[in-house]
């Protein structure tokens, strides 16, 4: 069976993510899915922008009160770096170096998990220090929904990459699992793309006022 065929560095194709018909379909289908996800997040951004600083009374926290540079900056650096590590992982995937790929993916997962931990700390901080909760105002609902959807994507991405790493740890790379790794890394980059807009539109623009 072609998909299970054993490869060596020499026989490994140049574009393993598109070497079989299944792989081509997966590759294209996932890109289309990302097109849909673009609309999904754009809609969440639109909702956030329409409801930004819309609160029931004057005491409620506004964007310029709650966001701080250090936290947002740290989260951004973690996620940006994890994007680079997953690029390294795919570099080694294309060079048929399974061990190094796993290592870089492991690093990606670690950075992603740190990002998620920071986000949980951050939400907790807002709730306790500013009483800015999901139910306290329309602004709160919109903020937690947008950032929370992104956080949910990070969590799903982590679970996905870990599953792939564990499942394939014994058998190495083949044309059946290479596209799966590739698509998971595309997903990870997309999460990063969304974050670039979140830190710009939500955090930085929030601090500007």
């Amino acid at each position: 069976m072609q998909a299970e065929e054993k490869f060596t560095y020499e026989t490994w194709p140049a574009a393993p993510e598109k070497a079989t018909l299944e792989a081509k379909n997966k590759f294209l289908g996932f890109w289309f899915f990302l097109g849909g996800e673009t609309v999904l997040f754009a809609t969440l951004f639109a909702t956030y922008l329409a409801l930004k600083d819309k609160v029931p009374n004057a005491e409620a926290a506004l964007a310029k009160d709650i966001f701080e540079i250090p936290l947002a900056f740290a989260a951004t650096m973690l996620l940006l770096t994890s994007s680079l590590t997953s690029v390294y992982a795919m570099y080694h995937m294309k060079n048929f170096n399974f061990k190094k790929m796993q290592m870089w993916l492991g690093l990606t997962v670690l950075l992603g998990a740190l990002f998620l931990a920071l986000e949980i700390y951050e939400f907790n901080h807002y709730v306790h220090k500013f009483e800015h909760t999901f139910t306290s105002s329309a602004f709160g609902s919109a903020f937690y929904t947008l950032v929370g959807f992104h956080g949910g994507h990070v969590a799903f991405g982590l679970a996905w990459i870990i599953t792939l790493m564990v499942r394939n740890s014994k058998r190495g790379l083949n044309l059946y699992n290479a596209p799966k790794f590739y698509v998971a890394s595309l997903y990870w980059h997309f999460i990063d793309v969304v974050w670039v807009f979140i830190f710009t539109v939500v955090y930085l623009m929030g601090m500007v006022g």
Partner: protein, 111 residues
């Protein structure tokens, strides 16, 4: 099986070329990563610096975000490679639909 392309049997001569090609690509990616980090820092500094008004800062950091995302898409997600015509078409269609949505929500929701 006729509808599947042969998966193996790349001639040995290709290997060196491929290695060189991917090393070169990796260099591009490191450059774009450095630039992305740089742009991020610029954006944070622009917001942290008291001297700029919001009318400058907001469009400026949005522009930086767009540039950064282009790096992500074209280098990290390999959209610069060929065979990405359909993905690009659908991604940009998504961007267009999303942009209209955001435009509407920031202009004609005013109550």
């Amino acid at each position: 099986m006729a509808n599947q392309q042969p998966s193996s049997g790349n001639p040995r001569v290709d290997i060196e070329y491929r290695r060189k090609k991917s090393a070169e690509e990796m260099r591009y990616q490191i450059v774009s990563f450095t630039l992305m980090i740089f742009l991020t820092i610029v954006a944070f500094v622009a917001v942290g610096y008291e001297g700029f008004s919001g009318w400058f800062t907001v469009p400026f950091i949005l522009l930086l975000a767009v540039i950064q995302v282009i790096f992500q898409l074209y280098y990290f997600m390999h959209m610069s490679h060929k065979g990405h015509e359909a993905p690009a078409l659908f991604l940009y269609s998504g961007v267009a639909v999303g942009a209209i949505t955001i435009l509407a929500f920031t202009t004609i929701i005013w109550w």
